[in-house]
Each structure stands twice: as C-alpha cells, then as structure tokens.
Symmetry: C2
C-alpha cells in the first residue's frame, strides 16, 4: 500500500509539484479520523469514544518503540536485543539489494539461525524520534516586514537550515524542521539514526504479498507481510529499553487499537484550486507515465529470469503506486467527494470573511493560491516532461545528485538547494555510496522510454530535449549514456564527490556529462517553480493554517509529512459489496483462496505452505482491519492495544481507503494488518524458527547472544 | 435470490401492476446473455462462442429432467426413483408447513433413512414441461377488426381459456397459454404435474442459508442450499427415464455450463415510460411497504420462540425481496443504465419510423403505452393502497379467493377473472384445501399494519378504507376479523367452496364478511386497470413485439415468464471490489468466514459442522459462479455440463446481477450455485447419508426400494 517505496524516486515530481501544492488549513477531526502528532494527541476523542486517556509515559514508550524506515516505511522495536519488525514490502528494496543472480532473498525469504548468519543491509537507515520542539516563531521571525514571497521563502529556508545544523551540532541527532498544519506551525524533529541493520527473517514473497497486484489494496486479505531485522551499534545488537511487548493473541473484534507510524503525505487540506490541478493534470499524467514504464519493465522482465529479478522491486513499486493513485484519482473524480470539498472550503471562507480582522489578515490566501495554480497549470506540461525523475531509473538520478552536490556544498548552508544542507549530507552520502548492486541495462530502458515520452510531449526543439538527446534518438541517447557509465561503481561515485567540482567538471563519464547538460535547465525550472508557485503557496498556506487555528482552534491534525503520527480506531468489519467484511481473516481463508484459484499465480502458495499445512492451526487469525486512519508510509507500523502491547503490523489499506488521501470515511476506510498471533505461530510451525518466536514473545531474550 | 417465494402473495400488486406493465419488444442477445425458450435455443451463440451444438435429444433430455416448483422455484430429477433436487430456500415454505412448535424442520433439517420416514409436503405441486405449441394465430384471430382494446383483451382472454381447457381435456396435462416476446407470440405449454412430493433430505437452515441476509445476493458464498424430495405417483416412487446423471467432480474453471429453470420475471423489454413508473412509483412504494412489514415480523418474532418460528419463512421472503428490489431500484436510478435504455429505445424507434409500412403498423405503440402509463401513474397511490395483498397475510388473501371463486365459476369460462378458468381450478383447489398450518395471530398483525398504511395514504374517507375498517381502527378491525375467523381450518374453506355462492353469502365468519365488503371495490379497480392500462398495453406490446421481429428477426429471447428457459455461460470469476472473485469457493472458506466472525450469527456454523470438521476434505469445492443469465425463480435450477450431466444447483445471483432485471452485464453478472462435489461429500461425511449419496451418484439405484 505504501507509496513510500517510491518516495525517493518520485521525489522530484511528487515533492516539487504535487506536494508543494498541498499547503493548507486544518479541518476538525470527527470519528476515528486523524494522523496525530505526539505533541497533540486526540485526548478528547479517546476519552469520549473509548474512555481511554494515554499517560505521558504511555505516549513516550510508543514513540520510542516506533521506527522510521528511511527508504519509505515504518516499523517497531519488538525485542530488547535490537529486533525491529517491518513489512516484507518495506524491506523489499533491501532484500533485492542483498540478493544476487544466484540467490533471490526477496522471492525466497531468509532466516538467520544465528546472529552470525544475519545479512547486513547495504543502505538502510532507521530513525527513532527522540524529541520534538516547536520553532514556529523562530522560522517566522526570519521573514521581515516588506519581504516579497520569494525573499520570504529564501529567508525561511535559510533559517530552517540553520536550526537543523545547530541541532545536529549540539545533539548529534538527525535534525529536521517540519512544517505542520501547512506552515501554521514549524517543528524541529530530532532522530537517533541507525545504519547497521541486519536481516534476520523474511518469508517468501508469495506469502508476504499473497494475491499480488489484484489483492493489493483490498480486503479480505491473507498476507504474512513481515520482515525482521536486528539493529547493531558498534558491532553489537542495540539494547533498547523501549520495545513493544508481544501480545500473542492479537486483538479481538471491537478492540481499541493504535497505529504509530510515518504516513507519507495526504492532501486533505488542499484548496479546491489545488485539488483541481491534481485531478485534471497531476493524476492523468502520472498514471500515463507509470503505465508506460510498467510496459518497459514487463518487456525487460520477459528477457529472462535475471532480468525479471532485477525489475521485480521497481515493478512492484510502480504497480503499487498505479493502483493507489487510480483509486485516489477516482475519489477526486467523484462528484460527491469533490462537492464535499468545495462546501467545506466555502464554509471556512465564509467564517473568515465574516470577521473583518480575520478577513484582512487571511482572506486573500485562497485567491493567491488560485493565481499560483493558474501559472502552474499553464506550464504544467513543460515542468512535468522536462525531467528524468519520471523515468524511475536509478543511476541518472544519482548522476544529477552528484553534479549538484559538488556545486551546492560550496555555497553557504542557507542558500543551498533543499537536500544538500549540512544536516542532510551524512544520510545523503550513506545513500550515494551504497554498495548495493545497480542495473544499468534496466536503467537504460527506463531512461529511453522517459526521454521518448518527453520528446513526444515537448517536441524536438525544446531546450531540455536538445540538451538531453544531443541530436540522437531517445533510444540511442540512453544507450550511449548508460552503456559507457562507471557510475554503477560506488567507489567511482565516491571519487567524484570527494574530487569535488573539479572532478565532476573533468569527468568524461557519459552519464555525468548528460547530467551536466541538463542540470542548468532543471535548476532554472526549479527556480521558476519556487518563485511563481512554491513561495506564493507557502505564504498563503501559512495564512490559511493560521486562519484555521483562529476559527477552529488546534482541535485537529496536520496533513501527513512522513513523520511520526498516532492514529487510533476500532477493530471492526465493514459493509462490502452487498454484505459484511469481517474484522479478521484466518489461515483457513488463505487455503480457500489458493484452492479457489486452482493454486494459480498470484494466488499460489509457497511450497512450504502446501507441505506444512497440517502443522498449522488453521483457525489462527491472519489479517485484521481497523478504522485507524493511515496512508502510504504507514506500512510496517505497529498496531498497539490499550496496554501498549503489539497486536499487529499494518501493511495495507482497503480499496475504500484510497480516497483517504482527500477524505476519511469511518464507514468503509480500513487499515489492514497482520495479526500478531499468526506471526509467532508461522515462525514456529512452518519456518522452524522457534527461537526467534521465543525472543519476540520475550521468552528467552537472554538466550539470544 | 428468488422472488418466487413471494410470487403468490405479491401476485396482485406484482402481476396486476408491475408485470402488466412489462410488455415490450426484444433486443438482440450478446455475450452469454439470455433466458431462451427450448423451441428457440441460442444455437448460433453456442456454436460461435463454445463450438457446441446441442442435439434435439440433448435438449429434450434437459427439458424433461427439469422441474418447476409451483410455489416459486426450479429443480431437477436426479435419480431414477423419483428423486428431485431443489434449494432449501425453495423448499423452505414446505419445510415450515410440515413443522410444528415441537419440531422445526426448516431450522434443523431432516433426513429420511427409509422411504417410510419421508415426510409428505402438504401443498407442493411440481410441473414438468411435456410439450409446447405455438398458438399465436389462434389467439390473434380471436381479435376481430374494429374491436377496441377492451373488447380485444376480452376476446384474447376468452380464446386463451378455451385453448387451455381443450388441451386439458384432450391430454389431462396442466395447460397454460403464455404470451412470449410480450405478445409477439403466444404458446401453449403442457405440464405433467405431481402433487405427492415427500421430503427426503434437508440440511440445517444455518448451512443452507449460511451468512443469512447479509450474504444473500452476494459472492463469495459458502452455502449448502439444497433439499431433496422424492416424488410419488399412486403411492410409488416415480420411475423416470429422464433424470440428470451426477458429475461427482463439479465443473472446472472455464467450463461451459447450462442452466435449465424457470426465471420468474424480467423487465428488459419495458419501454422507457414503463421503467419510469417502476423507478418513480412501484419500487419506492414497494420497498417502503416491505420495510414496515419487516418491522411487524420482527416485533412478532420477539414475542417468543414459537412466534419467531411462525414468522421465519415470510421474514426470509420479504428480506430477500427487499434486498433484491433495492438492487434493482439502484439499477434504475443509475444514470448509465437508464441512459442505455433510452438510447436502445431511440434506436429501435428510429428504425421503425424509417420504414413507412412499419411506422404505419407499429409506430404509435410507444405513445399509446406512455399515455396508459400516465393514467396509471395518476391513480397509482389509490391502486396501490386499495389492496390487502401488500399485507403479506395469508388468510385474508384466501378469503378473497374464496369469495371470488364461488362467483366466478358460475360464469362462462372465457369471461372469468384470471386465475379461475377451468384449467386452473384443480391446482387452485390443491392450494386452497392445503392442510398446512395457518398463523392467524401473525396474519392479524400484518393485516393491521397494512390497513394502517392504507389509512395513512388514502385518508379515512376513502371508500376502500370505509369498507375495510367499518368504522374501527386498523388494529381493532384486524383483531376482530382475524380472531373470530375459522378460515384457518381447511375443512371450513372446503365447505365454503363446496357450498358455493349461497354458503359464502350466508357466512358470518368475520374474515369472509370482510372479504365480501372489499371485493366489489377491488373488482371495480381491477376493471379500471384492465380497461385503461392492461388492454392498451397488451395491444401496444404486441405491436412492439412484432416490430422487433420485423427489425431484428427472432434472434433473441423473450422476457422471463416463470416458464422453462435455457441459459448458458462459463464458470468464471470476475472483478470485485478492487480484486478478483474466484470462480469457486471451498469448504476452507466456510470455516474461515465462521471463525472470522467469532462464529456469531448469521455466520455461525451448525453444531454438526463444528464437530464433524475432521471428516471433511476442506478443499472440496463448495459454491461456484458462472456467467449464465438467471433471475428469481431460477433458484434450484440444475447447472449442467456439455454432457448433460449435473454439476451444480443455482441458488443465488451476486449483488452485481440484481440490475439483471433490466440489463445483463457479462462483466460482473454471475449466477451462484452449489457444487455437485460438496453435496455427496457432505451427505456422506456429515449427515451419515451414504445411501442417499450413492443413489444420487447412480451407484445403487436398484438398492433403493
């Protein structure tokens, strides 16, 4: 379900255009709605609906037991000896990176019987949120009276970089300033980070992602979507006081549960003008591009087993995004939903306009955003297709990062492009210097198709096309660029970074040359976007954020920002297709579905499940749903009971939840989780992993050495 | 799924108003569409799509192996010794009728280990279609040039009664003239009828109707919706050459299958004007009445276990109708579907209007129907609420039948009300004189609520209200009428019929008195409806039927008429709620669903299934779906493979098929059946009914004596 898997790859488009467009107000939360920051938990709702009041200790324990997976997902500490649990599909990128043509851990799974057998992830960074601190007034005071929006944006960014750097220097913690309530508040988040993360257990992909793309984003489900890592520091497993005790029974129907994780992004507070851009431009173009690239991946996969293996993770990621975005887009195209959005905005604006003071301060924000969106839309095609990020190719993006890196780090911190501030460099290098295998032949096909699409859309005389193709056809250009590059070698990438501007300027590596050719144009475009859209919408967004506080108070939650949030809800079925979906499934249902489809892919069972059936208690709960409000990025989040114990792990939302990007509907929006009961049962009964199950259940923590 | 259960009870409203309004043309069938008469099977489609050409012998064998259940459903012969299989829910009325406060066979099921133990149904009549013969020209020639529509209708009805009586006298077979293609053709159908029908086997209702109202009309399903009877003649089991051989494996995914049964009614050929009446008047009023009556049934059921037992079958029937009609109504309210209907009609009319000869003959039919519908709609409320059939009460309806019976039989056959022609009397008496128990206390509550509703709608001064209430409140009137009546006694009913007009006129039984008071008004209303709507629409319908033949030829099937039809299709899953529904389910799925709902009603399992689980092969196919085109009345129809062998029994349609009353969509319309494999498996493994399973599988036919 998560879109997180593609976060980094889609970042340029998604963040520069789609996300920058999502900067607005705060509605009041009703029902089990909301992805709440830990500084502002929904105490009133919890008390009224569930008679539950979390203590500070309870909240701190949950926060410190939660883990962010920096390549796009969530997880939790589940043992005193550094055990961390996430989804197989969150771990999938790492599973592919540690695999070889000879051994496909993503597909076949893995179990380390001893710590010595554990497999180190090449570039996985985990973050634990150690503290948060509001810095709104400091960021705001950087904007001086009389500054125009462009200057104001620069001032904010510069101040944010400064705050982050100071915090990093003072604490050694990864430090990030996050705009919440769309700029109504700014918060400094500090993370402890871990980079020595080793794989302990993963099941077969066929059971982790049972039902494949058809069953993805649906329910009832029958997936064991888990992977278990052990985190090390200084060569030893991390001893952690804050981890979740294991409830071996899972939750009961009707139970109150919590989800603690990192939802990626929502657009619930967008203005109608911004939603129109998404509906009429962003989604149609994105879906079309994804469809094309999926065809490239399918052609590439058909060349052989190794090619299929190389393409597998990206193919999953794009299919996942395509299905999610199709649902989101249908939501936007639903008259009922869009009308609701329009009505909400009208009511909000009417309340602002009624009060002369509020009107004077905030009343013009919507028309400012509309005007910016008009400019955005007028240039949308150009912005969209002057880009290589839509290619989903890995190395071309890294080449561009390297070209920019050496230029940016020479500037004062506050003036750099986002992503290259001092506080960000360590994590960026960790990613750039990863020893994980690259697939230049696959990248070539993806880049060629993306350039071909740009050519078709922009025509041969567009300056980006001229710079990118250099007179060749897209296929020839991509072949020349990718076949000759040494950028697949981590040492070469490192040498360029260390050699600085001079080394990069002197490089004759065709991919570096290509990146140098297109960089100026992309920077220019980025600047245009900041000057004409982002700066305006940041200022206007702040106004609307404050206007919401003025009208509704701080009774709500901000849009998702891939930072830690607490959701809550009830384990509960829902009306589905004329009948009722139950709150949980059992292992019986897995065998039913496999047999119902004659055990044909994607409904086939791993051999272990065919042979080991009699060792299973088929009535064991497998997956369950709750009303907790989640979205992509929440994948791997623990589901927690009142006692703060682990009862499950989020891995998906149902099809009805896809419109959750824009509106939450308690009637049918459901978060789908693996039940804690099946995890230890399967480890023992099928995977001969009793010691691991015992460790998770706290039965022999001391025995694991 | 069937609406058949309520056929007789809803007949006055449904047939007089809704069905009379469904008298039009014939579209060409595409895909696996169509409920085909055996005289015009879809040979072209079967050959093109499946390379299959049924022989005359194949068709005759299927026809003679098919059984109509006259209280509203279908079935098939499945053994040489008179075994007939239908659905539990088709048998449910009979199961309730043979039950007592001490023994509830509908709920608990039944198995006769010997023929001596079999339980005779009090009033079940089965029909087997022996022959069909077109009589269009004879019916048409009764209408003389210059007759107006009223006279024409009388002439047609009189001729039809004559044809039926002649056929009955000549053959001894039940004889019915059926208008097909909405009067484009008239056919004489002759049935062999059986009235000594004894229960052999029924499972517990909880497995026959597993999932209850929520799962009804949905899929995936896990129901064993079967009941087995043995048919006797002259005190001995019927020896029948035509019965279906049992395929013990059930069908495979992708198999071609056939369904032979009696679909009740469809409205695919209605004019747009008629559909508008359904959408804007008929459905809203019907649904509202059903909802009220369900509340009455729920209140009555809450009085005690015996009251709940008495109300059970009717409650099922109304809930079933309510859910089906809700889906149908949503279909009519779908802009896409209604626009399609409008477009089809426009195209058809354009083709007629293009040809001066066709235009002169048929072109005015649509405006005639529109005009009749306008009159209907103007009087709709009165027609609807001057009625007691909406009450669903049993005895008041019988009282009215008795009052009319004695009056009608004195007239010449051709001039009688429909339902009282000579050829119909034997079956009518069989029903009227049934020894089945009646529930006057329940009838009283239903009648009171129905009269209350009429009072609210029509006001106290309406002549029907005055006649019905006789100055009392609805509750008091119903109490007086029902508490004093002896009509619950079959012998008393018989004495009235045998005593004729004099006995009925002299009776002081309060229910008879009530029926005498309201009959004149209802007759007057019926006459108004015939003169102003039915006669016009019958003539116009015939025109449109003929116009379709002129334009499209006889390449299509007529609307359903509760007569024998052949459907065909593929065993095939379909896109459902974001993923794919498989073509079949297995016993695993039953246990999954029960466990997923904590074994709570209506998802609880009968005790036998809890205890006997280990004797079952859980991978056995349970239910399956096919694209065959069916509707209510098809319940109990055999599903047959190419070889003419039995592979399953229809018991429902999926939620997507409810709009099938108006349009067929091969993409998602599915007929749901019990797999033949699970039937004999369950009989052997759970019901200790090996001999019955052997008899069904033809393994020991001779051993059953």
């Amino acid at each position: 379900m998560r879109t997180g898997a593609l976060r980094s790859k889609m970042a340029v488009v998604a963040i520069a255009i789609v996300m920058a467009a999502s900067i607005i107000g705060v509605p009041r939360a009703a029902a089990d709605e909301g992805m709440w920051t830990f500084d502002n938990p929904p105490l009133k709702q919890l008390k009224e609906r569930y008679g539950f009041t979390p203590t500070k200790e309870w909240l701190d324990h949950i926060r410190l037991s939660s883990v962010r997976f920096n390549d796009g997902g969530s997880g939790s500490w589940i043992g005193a000896e550094g055990l961390v649990l996430t989804n197989h599909h969150v771990a999938r990128g790492q599973l592919q990176k540690i695999s070889t043509p000879q051994k496909d851990y993503a597909k076949d799974g893995f179990y380390a019987r001893t710590q010595a057998e554990e497999l180190k992830s090449p570039d996985l960074e985990l973050n634990v949120l150690m503290s948060t601190e509001e810095v709104t007034s400091r960021v705001e005071s950087a904007v001086k009276p009389g500054m125009d929006e462009k200057k104001a944006l620069d001032a904010r960014k510069s101040e944010i970089a400064k705050i982050e750097k100071e915090s990093l220097d003072a604490t050694g913690l990864r430090s990030e300033v996050i705009p919440l309530y769309n700029g109504g508040e700014y918060w400094l988040y500090r993370y402890k980070k871990y980079t020595d993360v080793r794989l302990v257990f993963a099941p077969e992909q066929q059971i982790a992602f049972y039902g494949g793309d058809p069953d993805n984003f649906t329910y009832p489900r029958y997936d064991l979507d888990i992977a278990i890592f052990r985190v090390y520091e200084n060569g030893k497993p991390v001893h952690n006081d804050h981890y979740l005790r294991w409830n071996p029974k899972g939750p009961a129907d009707g139970d109150l549960v919590f989800v603690s994780g990192n939802p990626g992004s929502t657009d619930r507070l967008d203005t109608v003008a911004q939603l129109e851009t998404l509906r009429d431009y962003a989604y149609p173009m994105t879906l079309k591009a994804e469809k094309r690239r999926l065809e490239v991946l399918n052609r590439y996969s058909s060349l052989g087993a190794e090619q299929a293996r190389e393409a597998a993770n990206l193919k999953f990621g794009i299919e996942n995004a395509f299905k999610a975005q199709t649902g989101e887009n249908e939501g936007l195209n639903s008259k009922a939903i869009f009308t609701k959005k329009e009505k909400e905005e009208q009511e909000f604006r009417a309340r602002i306009d009624k009060d002369p003071k509020l009107k004077a301060e905030y009343g013009d924000a919507w028309s400012q955003i509309s005007a910016a969106e008009k400019k955005l839309v007028a240039n949308y095609k150009t912005l969209r297709f002057r880009s290589i990020s839509r290619s989903f190719a890995s190395l071309p993006g890294e080449a561009l990062t390297i070209v920019r890196y050496v230029a940016e780090v020479k500037k004062p911190d506050g003036e750099r492009l986002d992503g290259f501030h001092d506080a960000e460099l360590e994590s960026l290098q960790f990613e750039l210097f990863s020893p994980a295998p690259k697939y230049p032949a696959l990248d070539e096909k993806l880049l060629a198709d993306s350039l071909q699409e740009s050519l078709e859309q922009l025509g041969p005389n567009d300056p980006f096309i001229k710079a990118a193709l250099n007179g060749k056809s897209p296929a020839d250009a991509a072949a020349e660029i990718m076949k000759g590059t040494k950028l697949g070698d981590a040492a070469f990438r490192k040498s360029l970074i260390e050699g600085g501007e001079q080394a990069v300027a002197a490089s004759t590596d065709p991919l570096v040359v290509f990146a140098r050719r297109i960089d100026p144009l992309l920077r220019e475009q980025r600047k245009w976007l900041e000057d004409n859209v982002i700066s305006i919408e940041t200022s206007a967004g702040e106004k609307i954020g404050k206007a919401r506080f003025a009208v509704y108070g701080k009774s709500a939650y901000p849009d998702a920002t891939f930072t830690l949030r607490l959701s809550y809800g009830t384990v509960k079925g829902y009306p589905m297709n004329g009948t009722i979906a139950p709150s949980r499934t059992t292992i019986y249902g897995l065998y039913d579905r496999a047999q119902s489809f004659d055990n044909k892919a994607p409904f086939d069972l791993p051999e272990r499940y065919e042979k080991g059936k009699d060792r299973l208690t088929l009535s064991t709960p497998l997956d369950f749903v709750s009303t907790a409000d989640i979205i992509g990025g929440n994948s791997g989040s623990p589901v927690i009971d009142r006692n703060g114990d682990f009862v499950g792990i989020i891995f998906d939302g149902n099809i009805e939840s896809l419109v959750g990007r824009f509106v939450y509907d308690e009637g049918a929006n459901r978060a789908v989780a693996v039940d804690s009961a099946v995890i230890t049962h399967a480890l023992r009964a099928l995977y001969d992993a009793g010691p691991l199950a015992d460790e998770i259940e706290g039965k022999m923590a001391s025995a694991v050495k």
